[in-house]
Amino acid sequence: MIFLAVLNWFTSKKAYLENAVGSTDDPEEIERRKRLATRFWNSIDTNDVWMVLIMAAITAFFCYVYFIPFNKKPGRHYLPSYCAIFGIGAILLSFAATLLYCSLIVNMDYDTSFVMKVAAINAVYSLLLYLILSFIFCNYSNTNAYRWFKL
């Protein structure tokens, strides 16, 4: 739901299904294509909560590891480069995990670009969540990291 709401910025379910039908005039083929597209869309749509949870878990894990255990070890881990590395790690892993998850619930070959869009949006969410969690860690945790977002 969440992803598809975002995807609606680019396309709606109705437009997606129409696009999936293409230019054929064969009613059976139209029906078959609609059915495939609907099943594909719905599979993504009904599982998006899990994708968000996976993304959130990955991002929270990366954020926690960066701000707490990683910064308990010596090595100037408070430098912005490390914060960025962990953020990028969270984003990439969220992207990859979304792709993997999608591959388990749908046939990705059916519409690879759509799945990539979903994974990309999950990656963007990961970035936003990383920033939000960083704000929380900076203000309310016992981190040894540089507190970028400290009020």
Partner: protein, 453 residues
């Protein structure tokens, strides 16, 4: 005294005593004396900021546990004054004028006495440049000069039971050699001040530990070839007449360092023997109680070698080495932290560029002097060089102290320990940034150096 200030800055403890230094030298224009005065001011500046004793501070705190842990106070501060109002000890007259020799009849016994104990050169010397290695001159003059001084009056009126007096002097010069017995005598015979008369007095007297270039080349009146003779003569006198409660003798069997023979400048580099003499002060304040008879002490080193380190110094010097290592590690952290843009304490404790351009400058100024002092003392003969200073702040630090190994390999391990120290609640009960800095740095450094044995 310079070494004593450096050791106090490094964290040498005085058993809770405030130190009130009084420098007695009629050679007012001597750079070394002026520099000592400035050094004490610099120390006080850092100390006052750390304890919140400034115009802008609303807090008043105890001294820190580590660096700058001892209060140095000027005698005039006891009367609420800001500056020394005492008249200069320097006297521009010659000794001849001072004694009014011209008015002594030629056949008077005093005239013969003067001719016997004082040379023409002695009589013609200006008193404002000191006594030029002539204790016979100092003995005559110094008592009169001291009697009129504000600090002497302040000392007599402020001295309380429980206070201690410690006199630092050399035995082979003029001012110190004559001033020590004279000052001790003035204290012990201070009529009308029974507490002063009963003062618990310690003293350290320094034997010759350097030589001067040939005086015939420099046209100087001081000949270091006479240092040992003067020492023996003074010791013969001290044996019967100079008996403080504790008397520390410090010297070097060989005079390894050689300086220019320039009376007016006396640019002598800091020396290991001076530091050993300074440690006598801390021993006296920290470890000694009054005994029924005068006690005489000295210190030895383990191996008689040119450049001393932890091993060759012996176990008795572990604390001095540790404290000086602490100070040099602090210096290293200062170098690192000035440029550490993302050090977390910038955000959490305000150790940002405003801090480094503000109160921190006092510390920086003192550290520059400490570094010069260490350079001098380590490069002198004999050298006191227990540290292996890295060429770069990013170098391996495990061998920072020679003959031992520290656990922390890199500077960032100290930085992390500073961050951890900043998390301890009891360290955060104030708002003095310089105190944060020194406190956290000390805890980080002490974690590494406390195991030095």
């Amino acid at each position: 005294m310079k070494s004593a200030v450096m050791l106090m800055a490094a964290g040498m403890k005085t058993n809770g005593y405030e130190v009130v230094p009084i420098v007695i030298d009629p050679h007012e224009q001597l750079d070394e004396k002026k520099n000592l005065d400035l050094l004490i001011n610099d120390y006080k500046d850092v100390y006052d900021k750390v304890v919140g004793n400034t115009k802008h501070s609303k807090e008043s705190l105890n001294a820190l546990e580590g660096f700058f842990c001892t209060q140095i106070k000027r005698y005039y501060e006891f009367d609420g004054l800001q500056n020394d109002t005492s008249a200069s000890l320097a006297d521009n007259r010659t000794l001849r004028d001072f004694l009014d020799v011209g008015r002594i009849p030629a056949n008077d016994i005093n005239s013969f006495l003067v001719q016997t104990i004082l040379s023409e050169a002695n009589l013609n010397n200006s008193l404002s440049v000191g006594f030029k290695g002539n204790p016979n001159v100092g003995t005559i003059v110094l008592g009169n000069l001291i009697e009129g001084q504000d600090w002497w009056d302040a000392f007599k009126s402020k001295y309380e039971t429980g206070d201690r007096v410690f006199i630092i002097s050399s035995i082979f010069g003029g001012t110190g050699a004559s001033g020590f017995p004279l000052l001790l005598n003035m204290i012990k015979n201070c009529d009308g001040h029974p507490m002063v008369q009963d003062a618990f007095v310690g003293a350290v007297t320094v034997f010759p530990y350097f030589s001067l270039e040939d005086p015939t080349k420099s046209m100087s009146d001081i000949d270091s070839a006479n240092f040992m003779t003067k020492t023996k003569a003074a010791l013969a006198y001290y044996e019967q007449n100079v008996n403080p409660d504790y008397l520390y003798y410090v010297g070097d069997s060989s005079q390894k360092a050689s300086y220019d023979n320039n009376e007016s400048e006396q640019k002598d580099y800091a020396h290991f023997i001076e530091m050993v003499a300074a440690t006598a002060l801390f021993d006296f304040l920290g470890n000694r109680t009054r005994q029924s008879r005068p006690q005489y002490l000295t210190r030895a080193i383990e191996n008689d070698i040119e450049v001393l380190d932890l091993k060759s110094l012996g176990k008795g010097y572990t604390e001095e080495v540790r404290l000086i290592a602490n100070m040099k590690l602090l210096n290293l952290l200062i170098e690192v932290l000035k440029n550490e843009r993302f050090f977390p304490l910038r955000k959490t404790h305000g150790l940002d560029s405003n801090f480094y351009n503000g109160d921190f400058k006092s510390l920086d100024k003192f550290m520059n002097k400490f570094n010069s002092w260490y350079d001098e003392i380590s490069g002198n003969k004999r050298g006191f060089s227990p540290l292996s200073l890295p060429k770069s702040t990013s170098d391996d630090l495990t061998q920072f102290v020679k003959e031992t190994t520290l656990k922390a390999k890199r500077d960032h391990e100290y930085l992390l320990d500073m961050i951890l120290a900043s998390k301890i609640k009891s360290n955060n009960s104030h708002h003095i940034l310089l105190r944060y800095f020194l406190d956290f740095a000390y805890q980080a450094i002490n974690k590494q150096t406390s195991n030095i044995k």
